[in-house]
Subunit: 340 residues, 2 copies
């Protein structure tokens, strides 16, 4: 059974005692790879992925039979500040669209054989407007974080994590700005499509909010409570649960990466079981990935959220395992090795 | 029935009269895209891909039910010059490995539901050493090109094109250098793993061969005859046949792109039905893609050939069509549009 936090202190305690990679499984992957019928390194990041899957599943060969995708949805008080190109009711409408199978993420999960779970987090009660006060109190934050932890279903062998929430790139920008400094404008982008003076205004809201909260932020998880949203808290919880249960994670785009970033700031190895699936077209995502030491797998110009980039990358992980687990060795295939 | 060339002049004549994109299908795709439940442009290159598939299949919705992958294999006289890290007999050994299901491309085709066809082109008779004479005479070239054209099976809705051939990155480098100038070293890379003085030697062989042939090259297709190999000629043929039969093409890595490049140099629109699937770790691939005006879809550090990058990208095309064809519209889902 997964332990659940009763307080923010419990979350910090979990993070202080994380399991590492399974060295035996990793070594088995590393021993097999050079025997496969290809020049050494010729499969590039597919080789990295198959080793990573073995290390974090704790088994070799690693498996991909039950990939799951979870999309957390939340509403944000800060939406009232006019930071999004879409009205706040779109969050609930899109959740209905997910449930009816009509969104991009439904098609992507179907295409790659992933089960989709949608968690709408108290949409009728947006978080507080974080430009005025903390987005969540401790109880609200711990509840959302715990929902994220509990969303991880037994038997999941790869977890794709994403979100939906009108105004949540504003929240992500604020979290990133609070954690990594710089200027608010460095971390603020168009989201669903704000531009010009609306984008300047969005950056101003982010900057003022971070300046307002900064003196009171006690640790990176507290930054997530003050500036995040329920779906960001839940994504952080899902990422932590996956680590505790030996499930590798694909992080989606800017908001998912920002939600996981506090774990990294607390413990530099806390996201070693995660890959960033896709480099979002949201401009600050690259800088955020660099802060986490992560190179996104894909770069196809997506800026949708909904775990769409993470779901796309399931296909890449599938390909990596298919090669590592299924290829013949030089000995089996009687292929000559490299000339000496 | 596909017309087959009897001479190199016939190939030039085919290229002078290529069908264009289907404007009606393209317009249908462009009309549907903004109605789908996502911010405009939020699916990035997936949107480009679904429109491209409709335009070049000549139907909307585009389909992906029968993707096929073809790997052409050839042996090269220039291998005797010590330009590869692997001995020449590996070409035939790897063809056997493909036929036995043990190679990377077998696993990738299985993972993405693509049928694999392997065409071994007269492996017992390597092309002539192009550092001494033309790799193929006209009859040999036209035969290989025609085999490539005939490899396209009816009902293929997406073609992934790749190759296997010890020493063929040397051939690709020579073709690129002949077509696009610069220095031989600009176009010469490690291939399966040559480095240091062996790499310098490889570039020298490329440079000398191109200098030797350059005065006699009559057109870009003639460059491919003199400096290419049977698998390069066949890939060019397959790409042309796909254009004539309305089949979109995924080009694999450096060698496949070099094989198709002469078509582009002759007619700037000749490769509009092709996407470059993956940016090879072979360093010159990026420069070659830039010459063709193509941005590779994936960048995962592969440098294997075998159509491995092209097969990986089948999953991306599948995802693009799944979204475009399967998503709900704003009206169907009753989702609010962008705020004005």
């Amino acid at each position: 059974m997964l332990p659940l936090p009763g307080s923010m202190a419990d979350i910090l305690a979990f993070l202080a005692d994380l399991p590492g990679p399974d060295q035996a499984a990793l070594q088995k992957a590393q021993a097999r790879e050079p025997q496969l019928t290809k020049p050494p390194g010729a499969l590039g990041r597919l080789e990295e992925i198959s080793a990573w899957m073995a290390a974090w599943q704790g088994q070799h060969p690693a498996r991909l039979e039950t990939p799951r995708c979870v999309v957390f949805a939340g509403n944000h008080g800060v939406a009232a500040r006019g930071v999004s190109a879409f009205p706040a009711e779109v969050t609930a409408q899109m959740v209905a669209n997910f449930q009816n199978g009509g969104a991009a993420i439904n098609q992507l999960c179907k295409a790659f054989g992933a089960e989709l779970q949608v968690q709408a987090l108290d949409l009728d009660h947006p978080t507080q407007d974080f430009s005025q006060e903390a987005a969540m109190d401790e109880a609200q934050f711990v509840e959302a974080f715990s929902k994220g932890m509990r969303s991880l279903q037994e038997g999941t062998d790869l977890l794709a994590v994403g979100e939906m929430g009108i105004a949540n790139t504003t929240s992500a920008a604020a979290v990133a700005h609070a954690l990594f400094g710089g200027e608010a404008s460095d971390w603020t982008g168009p989201g669903t499509g704000v531009a010009g003076t609306a984008l300047t205004h969005k950056a101003m809201v982010v900057g003022e909010a971070v300046a307002f909260h900064k003196p009171g932020i006690s640790d990176p998880i507290d930054a997530l409570r003050r500036l995040g949203g329920r779906e960001l808290a839940a994504m952080a919880g899902a990422v932590l649960a996956a680590r505790l249960q030996r499930v590798p994670v694909l992080l989606d785009g800017y908001v998912a990466t920002a939600a996981a970033a506090p774990l990294h700031v607390l413990h530099p190895q806390a996201l070693d079981h995660c890959l960033v699936a896709h480099a979002s077209a949201e401009p600050a995502h690259r800088a955020l990935c660099a802060k986490l030491g992560k190179a996104p797998l894909l770069d196809l110009g997506l800026r949708l959220g909904e775990a769409s980039g993470a779901a796309l990358a399931i296909g890449i992980v599938k390909a990596a395992l298919a090669c590592h687990n299924g290829m013949a060795t030089f000995a089996e295939a009687m292929v000559s090795g490299k000339d000496v």
